[in-house]
């Protein structure tokens, strides 16, 4: 595709048709909904499942749902869940083995994931999916579990029209504008959406919906709303020369300092939409006749995660925090050609003690006294 089709207008009253069409085409639609005092990603079937009239207030170590004074459907940013939960599930059975008279019979575990349609994917999340695509699909070894889910996924992105205090996508050059990686992208207006097309599949779906051409005034309104998100972003992470900076400051006293505060609880890695670590374990029945190989989300903050013969490699919290931060922002670049951080701010909000990756980098930039 070399020319982008012009965007169209979808009335708010017709958003349900978008969800219906996706469902009719066999997609399981996952979108934002309120559960457990937060906006999470779960199965939705109706516009009424969306957090209409709700927003989120976020700060280091703090998240609160709040009422809006309007009835916007997408008037909040990213929450505790990410799409990673669906593309790279927390628990997967990889293979099974049965002891037979001819010895062990190994086979790949059954895996027939639904065809997912994701509604409400933000720019930073598109970037995170792109990062995980590189990790799971574009290296020497393709991950079949991720691939089976990813290849059929239909993505309806949403441009942010506001930002949280924890967002810093502008620093990481991943947002807040959705530029690629979606089938359709919405910008929420007062009475509907500006809809942009990203792929032929997106164009095809849009053809099945009652859209109208979009007025100059509506385009200007959409642009202004998107600009509002840009203007609200206050948090910054200076990425200039970051790889060399971090890798030459491995003995900076700040690591010790943050190691005193960090709980090594793994929350930051679990909520991070790009973190991909897992551990694989054989789980056998009591008789030793049947065994399943299970893969679970795991984290570099776990002491046992770096356990090798003789003990763990990263023996204190200081070195585990340093491993996380230097991988995310420095050695990730060597490994995958981009930063591992997309600036979504989740690790800041969901850290129980509010450790802020941007503040840590700023402190590490300062020469040790």
């Amino acid at each position: 595709m070399n020319s982008t089709p012009p965007s169209l207008f979808l009335a708010r009253s017709n958003l349900q048709l978008l969800i219906d069409r996706l469902a009719e085409q066999g997609f399981e639609v996952i979108g934002p909904t309120i559960s457990q005092a937060a906006i999470v990603y779960d199965r939705i079937s109706s516009v009424s499942d969306l957090p209409q009239g709700w927003t989120d207030r976020q700060a280091p170590g703090e998240y609160r749902l709040e009422r809006r004074d309007d009835d916007q459907l997408f008037g909040y940013v990213v929450g505790p869940h990410s799409w990673k939960r669906y593309l790279f599930p927390p628990l997967t059975t990889l293979t099974t083995a049965d002891l037979t008279t001819n010895g062990w019979q190994m086979r790949a575990a059954d895996d027939n994931p639904p065809k997912y349609a994701f509604l409400g994917v933000r720019a930073c999340e598109l970037a995170a999916i792109r990062v995980q695509d590189k990790v799971f699909l574009e290296g020497a070894y393709v991950d079949p579990v991720y691939q089976r889910r990813r290849q059929n996924a239909f993505i309806v992105a949403v441009n942010c029209t506001q930002a949280a205090s924890t967002c810093f996508c502008t620093s990481m050059e991943t947002g807040p504008r959705c530029r690629s990686g979606f089938d359709l992208a919405l910008t929420e207006l007062f009475d509907g959406f500006e809809v942009e097309v990203g792929t032929p599949a997106g164009a095809e779906l849009l053809r099945q919906l009652p859209t109208t051409s979009i007025a100059e005034q509506q385009l200007a309104d959409a642009e202004q709303r998107r600009q509002q998100a840009v203007d609200q972003i206050t948090r910054k992470l200076d990425t200039e020369g970051i790889r060399d900076l971090l890798l030459t400051r491995l003995n900076h006293p700040r690591w010790e300092e943050v190691g005193q505060r960090c709980l090594s609880c793994t929350n930051c890695t679990m909520v991070c939409p790009t973190c991909f670590c897992s551990s694989v374990e054989e789980v056998s029945d009591l008789e030793g006749q049947h065994s399943e190989r299970e893969r679970r989300w795991d984290s570099c903050f776990n002491l046992d995660f770096s356990y090798v013969s003789g003990g763990p490699v990263r023996r204190d919290i200081r070195s585990r925090y340093r491993q996380w931060l230097t991988h995310k922002l420095a050695s990730w670049i060597d490994q995958f050609g981009s930063s591992g951080c997309v600036g979504c701010g989740r690790c800041i909000t969901w850290c129980p003690v509010g450790i802020d990756i941007t503040e840590e980098v700023a402190a590490l930039r300062k020469e040790a006294p």
């Binding site: 005092a37 505790p80 005193q260 795991d298 204190d316 129980p352 003690v353």
Partner: protein, 261 residues
């Protein structure tokens, strides 16, 4: 299948509620299979058979609270090759270790009509303070799957797989939204060892620390944050002094909070 004799197992009770032994009994699905692999030589809660040992494996429930029990555990240790404590009482002193911060004589006088008949120690202490322990299985109560794993792995001669990560990891795997961050509810999950599968936060209750302190837990930092967020120090002391209150990491922290307050 093998000609090896089945390992002899003894199950012993000290000061406890029996909940951990019950976990073994309620492992119905697995129990028959396990029973075929081991020789249950002593388990008063399940059988009247009394075999004096020696035992290949001793499973010990409960804490040491009387002078008699302090001697009895030594005797059991001498007759056992491999001694495993099961549960928070045996591993950390249990809820009854609350007496360690109180006047035990006063308790005895208040509770018993004839206090002179009562012979107890002033403290409730973990088994490991009395004899060497080979493996500690945490939890109040223990997780029966973990208990089965420990028994099966011992029989098979491999190391048991009992994870040592925080409860938070389980919250995230199961998709529970953090109740501390989203609702301001104090939770011990970040410093508590996994084992229950993060049940309480999924019911909007903070973790009570049933499986005891996680390895290298940073209880000081967590408590500072909870204090700063408005949980009063006495409430934090109570949170830390539950089933594993006497475990060193929780004990030090609650004592420090008490002197601060």
């Amino acid at each position: 299948m093998s000609a090896k004799p089945k390992p002899k197992v003894g199950v012993f009770k000290f000061a406890s509620c029996d909940g951990c032994q019950l976990s073994l009994l309620s492992a119905e699905d697995e129990l028959l299979t396990i029973a075929g692999k081991i020789d249950i030589a002593y388990f008063l809660e399940a059988t009247s058979r009394i075999d004096e040992g020696p035992y290949d494996i001793a499973l010990v429930e409960g804490s040491i609270t009387t002078p008699t029990d302090a001697l009895r555990i030594r005797d059991i240790r001498q007759r056992s090759k491999f001694l495993i404590t099961i549960g928070a009482c045996a591993t950390a002193g249990g809820i009854q270790a609350l007496r360690n911060w109180a006047d035990h004589d006063e308790f005895v006088r208040a509770v018993y009509a004839r206090p002179e008949y009562i012979e107890t120690l002033a403290t409730s202490t973990p088994i490991a303070e009395h004899v060497p322990v080979d493996f500690e299985l945490r939890g109040c109560p223990i997780n029966r799957h973990q208990l089965v794993e420990v028994i099966v792995s011992l029989v098979a001669g491999r190391k048991p797989k009992t994870p040592s990560h925080s409860v938070c990891l389980d919250c995230k795997r199961r998709g529970t939204v953090c109740i501390t961050v989203a609702q301001g509810i104090p939770c011990l999950g970040p410093v508590t060892q996994s084992g229950c599968g993060a049940i309480c936060p999924s019911y909007d209750r903070g973790c009570y620390g049933c499986f005891g302190p996680a390895k290298q837990c940073n209880t000081g930092s967590l408590c500072q944050q909870l204090l700063a967020d408005g949980t009063p120090a006495p409430e934090l002391v109570q949170l830390l002094r539950n089933y594993n209150g006497y475990a060193p990491e929780f004990r030090q922290q609650s004592e420090q909070l008490e002197t601060q307050a």
